[in-house]
């Protein structure tokens, strides 16, 4: 039998635009999200959060609150049961914020939990929390890296030690100084909040003194299980985390936040199941955010627009304890053919919670700087924006010298331009009018890496022709339920209705969470590995079975496709897996396997063949090829020069993302990515009052995300792309890709419409009016 290698095996339902298998549950209201699980005896937890951003709690008066009827307990730092460890005491704490509130009287950020009320109804718990009187000794907080009290420092490492704060390739400053064209600009990105529609929620159920079940709105049940095990000092297997449905996450539910452990501790304290959902307001100080940041990019090119240097620095706000910042530099390093590059991160501590990855972390703001500057240079040189990108096309990854595993960017450019009608674009800015409105066209490149990942899955094929497939993954709305059903169906040659795919439970085989766009490719690979295990077992049964057409064949001569085993040299000779299983008398057969995604997959299957031996970068060990998805966005805007409003009127996105598992759900995800980016480009900004270090618009009326009326028809296409190196089915993640470059495409279109470059996101009407007052 052939083993774990990408095969261009025939498909039946993979790739088809199947309706979501979880769709009926979602459109009928039957799908239960974490706070909707009904467990008898459940009581309600509500957090009380700090009004100040820095200082000490001097007293907490709970007497009025305790008089509310139905109050079961009020927990504060004075009586909350202590966890076995705090995150700071955990050796390898990887789950974002390392600070756990309510351990002492300190207050370090506004909105930090200071008490937790448990009551018999939500109304009573909520009001009791309001009645708790906390007295503080407040100190002047630091609100951001802009604060005069803030000190920028070199963190050396960012993201919990995972990345260096300086990366240098070549001699970027010298190259910039000597460049024919020198462009320098600073880009500002506002604080953004993920704002999934479902607020984060925890339902903690102690099944015994040392046995815990947590229904959590989690993008990664394994991460939540591990973090809880660390904090509680319990073996992982004693903790079960379940997430059957999750109402969006976009990164904020892929980390561990205080409310989860506080709810678990409260449930222990009251010896009853406790359910706690953050309020929408608490979502702004409870589950991280995209940090406020500023990037300066020096771009040097030749007189014909070829990049010679990129010198990038980023300044951003971080929390008092962690050195988290998005790694914006990554995409600048690899997107184009540029021989000299550097990035430097500088952080300042402020009284804010730890920021965290938010859809396309690093790539989204990083590409805004890169793609806007490139657009400026193109305009300066009189080059079409598409042309300058082609002139700088990277035939290999210049960040590490490796060849691409696959790259279809030129096809994306060409097809996108055709769909959009790019050739009709007016090159000179400010020339295209529609009545009073200025019309502009812009484009930008998208890319996102194939991160290394792995996971396991279990496949159980029943003799009656159905199968149960299991992996502890999650479905954020990304379609995991559906696409894995399709993958399983083809692996076993069954109709999708005959597959039950289970996810979202730590009792299932460990799979990666939904994050970094790794879920689809990894889980699909895991299922294929598990299916191969089943194939292997059934083939062995068949070749030993006199009644089988494959009797006495060598297993190595047997191939399996779409659930049918046959002789490679004589495909007519064979039978289905199910037929052999039925004859065996066994009611079912089970297989399991580990699937790899990205570099690990390549290393296992291809060795280090493609690696450049002279390349001493860190990425060398990750395999022979550089692995990325690519795409191109094209955008039309209308700018009202009197009112400053910007409306997106047309959008085209064309992407090369390997094998598309389900055209319908994949298209939806790319549309969603574009709109997420449009939000960041035009309206999303959380305002933090500088004196109070507290948000002033922490709700969905104040923090604007796009509404239906903001969005025109969006055309999304995928170009055919086959990639043997990245995983079993050649799948590249698409969760982030659709958002990368979006803000730049919008900004570039606004430039084309107005002749003004807006480098400060979001591009709200006030900024447009201000820009229009300046000379073009």
């Amino acid at each position: 039998m052939e083993t774990n290698q990408t095969k261009n095996a025939p498909t039946n339902v993979v790739g088809k635009p199947l309706d979501r298998v979880d769709g009926p549950a979602k459109v009928t209201g039957a799908a239960r999200y974490s706070a909707e699980i009904s467990v008898p005896g459940t009581v309600y937890g509500v957090l009380k959060t700090s009004t100040i951003a820095k200082g000490r709690i001097t007293s907490i008066d709970t007497s009025r609150a305790a008089k509310e009827p139905g109050i079961i307990t009020i927990l504060t730092h004075e009586n909350l049961p202590k966890p076995a460890k705090t995150p700071q005491q955990v050796e390898k704490w990887r789950a974002a914020q390392s600070y756990l509130p309510m351990q002492d009287a300190q207050v370090q950020y506004a909105g930090q939990p200071v008490a937790l009320v448990v009551a018999d109804t939500l109304e009573r718990a909520t009001q009791a929390a309001a009645l708790i009187n906390v007295t503080y000794q407040a100190e002047a907080p630091i609100d951001s890296f802009h604060d005069p009290k803030a000190e920028l420092f070199d963190p050396q490492k960012i993201q919990q030690g995972k990345k260096d704060s300086h990366v240098v390739r070549g001699n970027p400053q010298q190259a910039f100084d000597g460049a024919a064209i020198r462009h320098e600009a600073t880009y500002v990105h506002a604080i953004n909040h993920h704002s999934p529609m479902e607020p984060a929620a925890t339902l903690a159920v102690w099944e015994g003194a040392d046995k815990l079940t947590v229904y959590e709105s989690s993008q990664n049940v394994t991460m939540h299980q591990g973090a809880l095990a660390d904090l509680l000092g319990m073996p992982r297997e004693q903790i079960r985390v379940v997430t059957k449905y999750i109402g969006g996450g976009f990164g904020c539910k892929g980390s561990f936040w205080p409310h989860t452990i506080l709810t678990v501790l409260a449930a222990k304290a009251v010896n009853r199941p406790v359910k706690l959902a953050l309020t929408r307001q608490q979502m702004f100080t409870g589950v991280g955010h995209r940090e406020d940041q500023e990037q300066t990019l020096k771009m040097g090119t030749t007189a014909d627009g070829k990049l010679v240097s990129l010198v990038h620095t980023k300044r951003a706000t971080t929390s008092p304890w962690d050195n988290y910042t998005e790694s914006n530099g990554k995409i600048l390093d690899m997107l184009y053919a540029c021989p000299n590059y550097s990035t430097t991160y500088e952080l300042a501590r402020a009284n804010v919670m730890t920021s965290v990855w938010m859809r396309a972390p690093g790539e989204a703001p990083g590409s805004f700087a890169l793609e806007s500057s490139l657009d400026d240079v193109a305009n300066q040189l009189g080059l079409d924006p598409l042309e300058i990108r082609l002139r700088n096309y990277a035939d290999y990854d210049h960040s590490n010298g490796k060849p691409w595993s696959s790259k279809s960017l030129k096809q994306c450019y060409a097809r996108g331009a055709e769909l959009f009608g790019w050739d009709k674009r007016q090159a000179k800015p400010g020339q295209n009018r529609r009545g009073r409105l200025l019309v502009g066209h812009g484009m930008a490149t998208a890319s996102y890496p194939v991160h290394s990942s792995q996971g396991t899955a279990r496949v159980r094929l029943f003799a009656d022709g159905h199968a149960v497939v299991e992996a502890g993954a999650t479905d954020l709305g990304t379609g995991t339920y559906t696409v894995m059903t399709q993958v399983s169906a083809d692996a076993l040659g069954l109709a999708p209705e005959k597959i039950r795919f289970e996810l979202g439970d730590t009792r299932l085989p460990t799979a990666p969470g939904s994050g970094g766009s790794v879920a689809a490719g990894t889980v699909a690979s895991s299922i294929m590995a598990a299916a191969e295990d089943v194939w292997d077992k059934v083939v062995k049964m068949a070749v030993a079975d006199k009644k089988s057409p494959l009797y006495k064949a060598k297993p190595a001569d047997v191939k399996v496709e779409l659930g049918r085993m046959f002789l490679t040299k004589d495909p007519q000779k064979g039978e289905t897996l199910v037929a052999a299983l039925v004859r065996s008398g066994q009611p079912d057969i089970e297989g399991s396997g580990t699937g790899k995604y990205g570099a690990g997959y390549e290393e296992k299957n291809f060795g280090q063949n493609g690696a450049d031996p002279n390349n001493d970068s860190k990425e060398k060990k990750t395999g022979g090829h550089s692995m990325h998805s690519f795409g191109a966005h094209f955008c039309e805007v209308e700018v009202d020069p009197d009112l400053g409003t910007v409306r997106i009127t047309r959008w085209v996105g064309v992407h090369g993302a390997g094998t598309v598992l389900n055209l319908k759900t994949a298209t939806s995800q790319m549309i969603g990515g574009a709109i997420y980016g449009i939000g960041a480009a035009l309206m999303e900004e959380t305002h933090r009052d500088a004196s109070f270090a507290r948000y002033t618009n922490a709700d969905l009326a104040g923090y604007h995300i796009p509404v239906n009326a903001d969005i025109p028809e969006i055309k999304v296409e995928f170009v055919p792309e086959s990639d043997p190196y990245i995983n079993y089915l050649g799948v590249k993640g698409i969760g982030e890709l659709g958002m990368v470059g979006v803000a730049a495409a919008v900004g570039n279109a606004i430039f084309n419409a107005t002749g003004r470059r807006l480098r400060h996101l979001p591009i709200t009407p006030d900024k447009v009016l201000e820009a229009l007052r300046q000379p073009a």
Binding site: D22, E36, V43, P69, G70, T121, M197, R280, L700, N708
Partner: protein, 211 residues
């Protein structure tokens, strides 16, 4: 495909508040586990005014006609319709996204009009017809709006979906689904962070055509 997790007990588990000693007495519950009981047959509007007390204080019996069935909960007057549905009646299809009328996830129909149930007091909906997402399908047969959402992939995570669908049903009934632009504007009270907007619009236009 997984089954949704179903409750281990009848609905209403967590919702029963303890008696706070208010002067209203509890309605006796005939066999209703955990705070639920079927109320007398639905009352007409005229009967309602005399049958239901004009003054409600503390935990009281509130009768809500949801999806054609009158159900009684024991709840304080501050309980919103959304919480009454989700926490007292275990009808969790209506979603809480913001609790302040800023997202539309809680949209239900009251006497045929779409409203934000998070800003509606349950006590004020007594005697009215409340329709939630759970009341839309006829048995296994999806409502045309539900079917259109499924076909056009008008959702991803699904959390805003019941609100979108209820709002979409009303949008068509109101006569505000005549064009793409009209649907977009009249559906702007329902946020979708996964941003299925183009698909939602397509689904509503199709459902409008077939209705």
């Amino acid at each position: 495909m997984t089954e949704p997790i179903t409750p281990d007990t009848p609905a209403g588990g967590p919702g029963k508040p303890a008696n706070d000693g208010s002067r209203r007495t509890f309605m006796k519950q005939a066999g209703g586990i955990l705070g639920l009981a079927l109320a007398p047959p639905f009352l007409s509007q005229a009967e309602r005014l005399t049958a239901l007390s004009r003054k409600v204080e503390g935990v009281s019996a509130l009768s809500l006609k949801v999806n054609g069935t009158v159900r009684t909960i024991q709840a304080e007057p501050r309980v919103t319709l959304l919480d009454a549905l989700r926490e007292y009646l275990d009808l969790t299809g209506s979603k809480k996204g913001c609790d302040h009328g800023q997202c539309g996830a809680c949209t239900v129909l009251v006497d045929g009009r779409r409203v934000n149930s998070c800003l509606t007091l349950a006590v004020m909906t007594q005697g009215k017809e409340i329709t939630t997402i759970e009341g839309l399908a006829k048995g296994e047969e999806l409502h045309p709006m539900q079917a259109a959402f499924l076909k056009h992939d008008g959702f991803q995570c699904g959390y805003c979906t019941p609100g979108q669908i209820m709002s979409g049903v009303a949008c068509v009934q109101e006569g505000h689904a005549g064009s793409e632009a009209e649907v977009r504007e009249w559906m702007s009270g329902n946020l979708c962070r996964c941003s299925a907007y183009p698909n939602i619009t397509a689904a509503i236009l199709e459902a409008a055509k077939s209705s």
